[in-house]
């Protein structure tokens, strides 16, 4: 039985290593009697779960979801730090520390790419907006209210909504009203190959058992993975797996491949939590109006620049 349980985790759980070790530890916590429903949950472990189905018989991922990791700051392990302008921002602007979401901890950068990541981090708040692509040379796209790309959109600290039909899985993000379409069939309108590069990528999905597997490419080269300058090129290829792990959780993992930047594919994983507030809905976080002065200030009348 344990083997079956472990097997499930190998397939469904992103926290594979943690699940194996903690499940085998004699100290794994169980409630009195160990009966179903009485077990005290162990982080990283989900009991076997078969989720609800949509009317067309597919796993039902509809809902409003949110990650609760600090990966938007840094997808790797990191300490808390003062944010920009602590003299006026104080704790409002400080960034929490947290454990990373990269499996194994390390991102396999090519040496020259690692140097670029560090340069990105140093210039994450250097914003120089021109009327051409040089506008993307420096500055974190999040700072500029640009679409976050994939996988970053999934661990921004704002919710997103999945609306699932037979042919489309729509993912609507509250951040900058970024929208992503996962096409569930390949046809003339939505061919396998991306018709053009885009910030949120060109995605096709299919079901592998109870898991939604999403294959995305056709990315613009300008999105980052976090504020720490982790980045990719237009050769980015992301394969994501969404698996319902309980009525309230999706286990998410993404395999990231980009031969221009990394020496091998690598993986991030974390749970998504269902937002359960009564009548929960997305509202607007269209941040353009909050960044205009930063972006276009040098072109304003009486600008000091």
């Amino acid at each position: 039985m344990k083997a079956i349980v472990l097997g499930f985790f190998l397939v469904a759980c992103a926290a594979i290593v943690q699940a194996q070790t903690s499940a085998q530890q004699p100290g794994a916590r169980t409630g009195p009697g160990g009966a179903t429903g009485a077990k005290i949950p162990t982080p990283g472990e989900f009991p076997p779960y078969k989720g609800p189905r949509t009317a067309d018989g597919k796993p039902d991922l509809n809902g409003i979801w949110q990650a609760f990791v600090t990966a938007d700051i840094d997808i790797q392990d990191h300490d808390a730090q003062a944010g920009p302008h602590p003299d006026i921002m104080g704790a409002y602007g400080a960034w929490p520390g947290g454990q990373g979401i990269v499996e194994g901890g390390e991102i396999p950068y090519k040496p020259e790419a690692l140097a670029q990541k560090k340069a990105n981090a140093e210039k994450r708040m250097v914003v120089n907006i021109t009327s051409d692509d040089r506008r993307h040379d420096t500055g974190d796209p999040e700072l500029k209210c640009y679409r976050p790309g994939i996988p970053r959109a999934n661990y921004m600290p704002l919710p997103f909504q999945i609306i699932q039909s037979t042919d489309n899985v729509m993912v609507a993000y509250e951040f900058a009203h970024a929208l992503r379409t996962i096409y569930m069939k390949v046809d003339k309108e939505t061919p396998q190959d991306p018709p053009a590069d885009s910030w949120m990528g060109w995605s096709h999905g299919h079901w592998e058992g109870d898991t939604l597997v999403v294959d995305s490419s056709g990315f613009a080269p300008w999105t980052w993975f976090d504020r720490a300058g982790d980045y990719h090129s237009d050769a980015l290829h992301v394969v994501e797996r969404y698996t319902l792990a309980s009525p309230y959780h999706i286990m998410y993992e993404a395999t990231i491949e980009d031969p221009n930047v990394f020496t091998r594919p690598w993986k991030v994983s974390f749970p998504l939590y269902r937002r359960m507030e009564k009548n929960i809905q997305l509202v607007d976080f269209d941040c353009v109006e909050y960044v205009e002065k930063m972006l276009y200030g040098p072109y304003y009348k009486n600008s000091s620049k």
Binding site: N62, S131, A172, E189, A196, S198, Q281, K293, Y299, K301
Partner: protein, 362 residues
């Protein structure tokens, strides 16, 4: 502020032209769908001969509105005087207007009739003809009042609109010879700022008037091609949002009555209401009814006693089109904002130089 996309086709011309030139290079190729005139004939035929059509339903039993739709129309918003009280054209008249519309595609329906093209979209590498739009026998999109005209504004609304025209963002666009006021980004309109391209209601625009509808359990989602703006419409009867929360496209609640999806929208941002209506008093109701494989009859009623002297209603047919809807990266490559602001600085500098030269000569 006044909805700039409504007030003047010249405003729209400027905005759209600049958007076409400056803003969206990455997706233009995706938008340039080749358009077979044969397609129009096929659609026209389907609309008249498709007698055996059966309304499809989603797996969870909703009437199925899903797919790609265009609201592009060659029918003017308000009825031209020459039609008097005539509500419908003859088949021949409708076919003629449709033909002219295709030939002069991208002219604007609001103030300009098909025989008065505003500009030639092919100059901007856009297809001369957007697929999908079907002939419409109505003489105007406005169907109520019966004269096909938008009712008169209340005196207060007329005064407010006049003030907005004079002092609102880009007020000078109304006069093409006046300098553009662009001291700061807030002087630009919401579309130029990539904040909102308006709606509801769904209206025909010059181009990109394209939509995708997806239905999930308990929700209908409408995606607009412009800026990929979305409306997620819950169908579960939940109460409206608190009046403390405002949204660029308002906040919508939907329900089915027979085969018609009825959507009521409130909680508008005061800066982004339809035609500058009063966000506090505006009631916007939309009706989506699929009438055949290629058509949704889309009707909206606006009721705002502080803006119009009576409620009014328009019908905009939504015609099936080929997908997909491309990503519309707007703020990510908003060259409009840079160029308009930088251009205004250049103009100021030139004006200052000129003034200096004149004073030196004197």
């Amino acid at each position: 502020m006044v909805n700039r996309f409504w007030v003047s086709s010249k405003v729209l011309t400027v905005v759209i032209t600049m958007a076409a030139i400056l803003c969206v290079p990455a997706i233009v190729s995706a938008q340039t769908r080749s358009a077979a005139p044969a397609k129009a004939d096929k659609n026209a035929a389907a609309n008249t001969t498709n007698k055996a059509w059966v309304l499809p339903h989603t797996p969870d039993g909703q009437p199925d509105l899903q797919g790609y739709w265009t609201s592009l129309s060659f029918t003017p918003m308000e009825r031209p005087a020459k039609y008097g009280n005539r509500e419908f054209l003859t088949e021949e008249e409708a076919a003629q207007i449709h033909k002219e519309g295709i030939q002069h595609s991208y002219e604007f329906t609001f103030n300009d009739l098909p025989e008065t093209p505003v500009y030639d979209a092919t100059v901007y590498a856009l297809s001369a003809w957007q697929e999908g739009v079907a002939p419409n026998r109505r003489t105007s999109l406005v169907v109520d009042p019966p004269d096909g005209k938008i009712p008169a504004l209340t005196p207060e609304a007329a005064k407010a609109r006049d003030a907005a025209r004079k002092h609102g963002p880009n007020q000078d666009y109304a006069d093409p010879n006046a300098p553009v006021k662009a001291d700061v980004a807030e002087d630009l309109n919401l579309g130029e700022r990539c904040i909102s391209f308006g709606g509801p209601p769904i209206l025909p625009g010059a181009y990109n008037s394209n939509f995708k509808i997806v239905q999930g359990p308990g929700y209908v989602m409408v995606e607009y091609e412009w800026n990929n703006e979305i409306r997620i419409i819950p169908l579960d009867g939940r109460p409206a949002l608190s009046q403390s929360i405002h949204r660029w496209h308002g906040d919508s609640r939907g329900h089915w009555e027979g085969n018609t999806l009825i959507v009521e929208t409130s909680n508008f941002r005061p800066a982004a209401t339809f035609q500058g209506a009063n966000a506090k008093t505006l009631k916007m109701t939309e009706y989506f009814t699929r009438t055949d494989q290629n058509t949704i009859e889309y009707k909206f009623t606006v009721d705002d006693p502080s803006t119009w002297t009576r409620p009014w209603t328009a019908i905009v047919p939504l015609s099936h089109m080929e997908g997909p809807i491309p990503e519309y990266d707007c703020t990510e490559n908003n060259n409009d904002a840079v160029n308009i602001l930088a251009g205004a600085r250049v103009a100021e500098k030139a004006a200052a130089e000129k003034a200096k030269n004149i004073s030196q000569k004197q």
